[in-house]
Structures are given as C-alpha cells and as structure tokens.
Amino acid sequence: MTEYSKLAKGSFTATNATQFVYLPFKPDFVEIWNYTNIKTAGASTVARAWWDAGLIDPVGSTNPTMLEIYDGASAVVFDTVQTNGISAFAAGLAFQYGPLQGHNLGNITEFSIATSASPTTVTTVGDHLLQSGDVIIFSNLSQTATTGMQQIAGIAFTVTVTGATTFTIPWATNGSNYTAFNTATSTGNVGTYKKVLYPYLYAPGVTVISAITNGATTTIDTTSAHNLVVGQEVAIRIPTIAGAPTVWGPTQFNSLPNNTTPGSPVYGYVIAVTDYNTVVVNINSTNYSTFNVNLPFANVPGATPAQLVAVGDVNTGGVQISAGSQLYPPPYVVPIGTTRVNSINGPAIQGAFFNNTRQGFYIGNGVAAVEGTATIMQEGDIVYWHAYFHDLALP
C-alpha cells in the first residue's frame, strides 16, 4: 500500500560531522549504503546500515541501527549501533535539550574548565560525543559558594571540538574574577551542561557578545553563531551591571539614548563576516571603552549579557549562486567555521528574517556494539540513502 507513503532518496559525501538530511517528512525507516566500503572492503568498516523507528531493543530499551560490516578480520558480519546511529528528528519548537552532562551524569563522569584567554578549554572524563558547531548551556558552575565560573552559566556557547575529551568555547576566562572549575572537586559536585538540540530555528537573531575589538571599524565576536550577512543592520546592547560599572564596558555602542538625534536609534552595518561568530561592523569605536568580561562572581545574579541584535538589512538581492548550488540559493545558517547550511526555503533577500525549522533524519558517529570501532561512515565516504514513511505499519 503506497498511496500516501513517502519515499525519498539521495546521496552525499561524508564529513566528520553528524550528517543531517532534511526531508518533507519524518521517516520511520532509513537505509544507508556506504558505496565506498562496498566497493573496497576494509577492516572495521560499514557497508550497509538500516534503521526502523519502531524497533526497540528489549534489553537496552534503545532504538538501534542495524549494520552489515566488515569486522577486524574483514569478514562480513552483522552488528548494531545501539545509540547515536540513525535517528529521525523534528526541529519545530525551541528549547529542546539533550541530557544533562556532569558528575556521573550523561555520557561523562566529570568535566572541568581551566581559566584561559579565549577560547576556554573544557575537559571531560569520558567521551563528550559533541561535534564542532554543537551548542551547549552550562549551569551551576560554582566551585565554592563564592568562586567558580557562574559568569558563563546560562549562556549558549558553540563548541569547537579539539579531542574526544576536550572542546573549547569562545570566551575569555582569564580575568581575575574567574576561578577554575571542576565537577570532581566543586562543592556538592555541582556543575552541568546540556546540548541545545535545535539551535537557530529562526535566523538571524540575537546573540551574546564575547569580545569587541575597537577601531576605525569594530570587530565583534559572539558566543554562538550570529548568522548575519554582509549588509545586515545591527544594534548593539551593552547593559550596565549594578555594582560592576566597568563590565561590559563600551556603553557608547548602545542604540539609545542617542544624544545627537534624540529618539532615533543608532545602528551599525555588517561590512565583513569573518566566520560563524565574528563580524566586522562599520562603527568607528576608536575612542570607545574597552570591552571587558571580567564580571565579579558576586554580581552574576541579574547580570544581563551584552548582545548583538539583527534589526534589518540594506541588501537588494538573494544569496549568490556558487559551484554546486541551486540557481536561486536559499538563506542559510553558519553553525561553525564558514560552512553554510542551507535552509529548506526558497530564495530570499540576504539578511531577511527566515524560518529554519526542519525535519528528516541524521546519522551520528556511534560505533558498532560488538565490533567496537566501526562507524556508519567516515570522512570522504560516498553514501547513498533511502528514507520512507509507510502507510501501513503493524502492529
């Protein structure tokens, strides 16, 4: 019976990151052919993977992915990925999070944050399973009642993975008011982080500022992807912290009040996009105060972060065509580096507010449960996929 079934197929060349495939439906069955490994057998590689949304492992209560692999001796065997294999997703509502990670929580047993200039390194005990571009939020970073890194708790950070147990966040924690944090030694073993499952459902938006470089033009760094484009009109908000007037510093950036034309907000325009979290704005800030994130621990309650806000644009056209792109490319987000991830939309003026909600399936980097090392794909593999949503599923 296929009158209302949904079928889709496609292919991609694998990268190191989790591969998302956007579809007009949320599949209940997905099959993957790793053509690279089928053509050339290699030890501990996956030839075929398939997943059914209704299959629940009776022992682990997981929703596994089934595998046909070459094992360590290059013999064809069957195996499974119990977690982080193929999964369907529906990114339509904000505030969806992964499990808490902390002291004996989630897939790690501890994590620590060393003080340093930006970027700050986070070290975990156990594989953090994050990927560059993921967004996390910390909570309860009090090493003691009066020390720690509560200054960065509650802020969304994009992570850059530097190893299985290390990643960095774009924030300077070498100020005098920051103290190294470790869940293994914090009072009560407090301290957690969790992953924001679907960041950037709408773009562009508001992001927290982590650094500002003053000059004839102004360079602004943010804690997560800004998703701004050249020509974007932006407002900058530099709140004043009660009891700590030197934090965040350059209140001259604030749109209002405006002493030159009272009542009229002051905006800047993005003249260059360096990467996912850095833009250059056409504001001459040579004589402005220096941006400063050395927020005293005691002043954290009620402290509003500095923000970069998209308010408009001066563009007249859509995203330009490029090699391999559609003729009229859609608006995109840039979750990490300079890698564009297209939305599922049609073309729009660059800098327009757009909807980035989406659904489909993704392929994670979980390993074969028995064989122990094979993943569904590795960087450079040619992968073909088929996705289905069935009319009739029994029971």
Partner: protein, 325 residues
C-alpha cells in the same frame, strides 16, 4: 418470585453518546493578539520588506543673520525583510469512519485542524521572538539566580527602557473609580508570560507606588483581555501555558521564563494574499481507484518580523518558587 434483571435481560445497546463533546485543553494564544498584521500581495515575491524612516536631526541651531542656509540633511531609512514560509497539516479519513461513526467526525476534525493551525501561528511567533528580541535579565528578585525571579523593579526598569526608546503603549490607563478594592491602572505595554509565574505575581507585594494589581481589582474590566492576569507599573500581564520556558538553563539550573514586554508595532505577522487559514476538504472521489479516503487539511503562509526592535524586550526571569504546576 422471579425478578427479571439486567443480568438476564440486559440492554441490547449498552452505551449512548453524551450530547456534547468535552472541551479540549487549549492554551490562550497571546502572541498573535499583540502583532501588527500585514498582507503581502499575490505575485509579490518571497520576501516582505518594511521601511521605517529615520528621524531627522532637529534644527536647534539658530540661523543667525548671515543669510546663508545651513547644510542639507540626507534622509535615511531602515529596511526590515522577512521571508514567507508555508505550513500545513491534515488527516486522511477512511470513508467507513465517516459512514459508520456515530459522531460527526469531519466536523470535529475540522475544528481541531483549525485550532492546530492557530496554535502553530502563535508558537512560530513565540519562538521567533525568543530568537530575535533583545534580552533583559531580571535582577530585582532575591533568589540569587541569574536571571533572578521577577521583582517590582524589573517591571519598572523594562517599562523605563521602552519609554526611553519611545515605544508606543498599547493601552491607555483606566481611571480610578469609587469601588471597593480597586485601583487605577496605568497606560501600559503588554507582557506575554507564563501561567507558571502567576503565583509569583500574587506574591510581588508593593514598593512605593508600584504593586501588582489583579485584573479583578481594575476599576472596570471592560478593556481587560481574557488572558489578562493583572498589571504592574506600566505593564499589563497576559498569561498562557504555552509561553516560552527554557527548562533548567539558568545559572543555578532553574527554569528560565521569557517574558516578552512590547509596545505597538514591535512585532508584525505577515500573510500572503490572504493565504491564511485554508481549510481543504477533498472527498474520497480523489483518492485511489475505489475512492475510499477523504482528506481534511489546513494550510497557511506566515512570516514574522520584529519591526520595532526598540519597542520589545524579553524580560528573562526564573521563578520565586518551584512549587506548584
């Protein structure tokens, strides 16, 4: 004596359907209520563009007696773009359901689809506002978190911010009347917030001339909206169970509430050529060769934009108490 009971002569049909459907718990939808509404024309492309002129510098320098005109000003404007998006959902209903079920299936499924569509409109606006509006962390509460729970000073501060930004208030004030237990209501912005914070509002107390005034204590309820819980300072509070709450993400790991405070024209809802709320029924004739299945669906086009960024703030807070709900 032998008594015939329902054990030996029971009813042939055991059940009868009560005459009315039970209600479906449905959140109040506040976001669409406070939006400006704009319609893009048909054949108007993918992107709705707004233009807002910039203020000219007031000429406060006297001309003097030189007879020379001052330099001209260059008028400027701000441009805001929003891309249209399309949404829809539906149900496939076998003709046997329509033929044999006792209740009017098509009627109540149509109603549920309509509500789902309106709720989607509101949720899209909600999540967009969370992503795009500037944030002001509450600091007036005493729970030691970041953000803190809401204090009276937070209401005053956010109203001060919007006033300083020359935002337009939604409501004019309500003059005091000689009625027991009532008090005048200031001209006000709206705050869109969660029902989970209602107990916090009740516990706000007073500070000088600022206190929480329940909607019940307004001099007249004529202008109160159905979801209006009360007012503090220059803010009237609309609550909904679907207001945005980020669970467990405060500095202390508590729930974070995005309380959107806004003035007129802060947020605009855009449709395209009335392409909003299309209820589509296709009878079974259009399905397979045996014409077995009808379809009922809704479809709508929607875009949204913050059209006055100076007139909106997410006053972000935690709760005074995690009890209840």
């Amino acid at each position: 004596m032998t008594i015939t009971t329902t054990g030996s002569l029971g009813p042939m049909i055991l059940q009868s359907l009560a005459p009315a459907m039970l209600y479906v718990p449905t959140p109040t939808m506040n976001y669409i209520t406070v939006c400006d509404k704009v319609s893009m024309p048909a054949n108007g492309g993918t992107t709705c563009r707004f233009m807002r002129p910039r203020a000219l510098t007031p000429p406060t320098i006297q001309l003097g007696n030189s007879g020379i005109d001052p330099p001209a000003q260059v008028p400027q404007r701000d441009i805001i773009d929003a891309q249209m998006a399309f949404f829809g959902t539906g149900c496939i209903i076998n003709e046997q359901v329509i033929l044999q079920d006792q209740e009017g299936v098509l009627a109540w499924v149509s109603e549920r689809l309509a509500v789902a569509m309106r709720q989607a409109e509101d949720l899209i606006l909600r999540d967009y506002i969370v992503s795009a509006a500037s944030q002001l962390n509450a600091g007036g509460g005493a729970n030691g978190d970041n953000p803190t729970n809401l204090g009276l000073t937070d209401f005053s501060l956010v109203a001060t911010t919007l006033d300083t930004n020359n935002a337009y208030k939604f409501m004019s004030g309500i003059e005091g009347m000689d009625r027991f237990g009532t008090g005048p209501v200031r001209s006000a912005y709206f705050m869109l917030t969660s029902t989970e914070l209602q107990s916090d509002f009740d516990a706000l107390g007073s500070n000088g001339s600022i206190s929480f005034l329940s909607q019940w204590n307004y001099p007249t309820n004529a202008s109160a909206l159905p979801s209006e819980y009360g007012s503090v300072a220059n803010i009237r509070i609309l609550t909904s169970s679907e207001a945005p709450v980020s669970r467990g993400t405060s500095a202390l790991g508590n729930d974070v509430y995005y309380n959107t405070v806004l003035g007129k024209q802060a947020i605009t809802h855009i449709n395209q050529d009335g392409f909003s709320m299309n209820l589509i029924y296709r009878d079974p004739y259009y399905s397979g060769m045996l014409a077995q299945n009808a379809t009922l669906a809704v479809k709508f086009a929607q875009a949204q934009a913050i059209t006055q960024d100076t007139a909106i703030r997410n006053l972000v807070s935690t709760r005074n108490s995690q009890l209840g709900v």
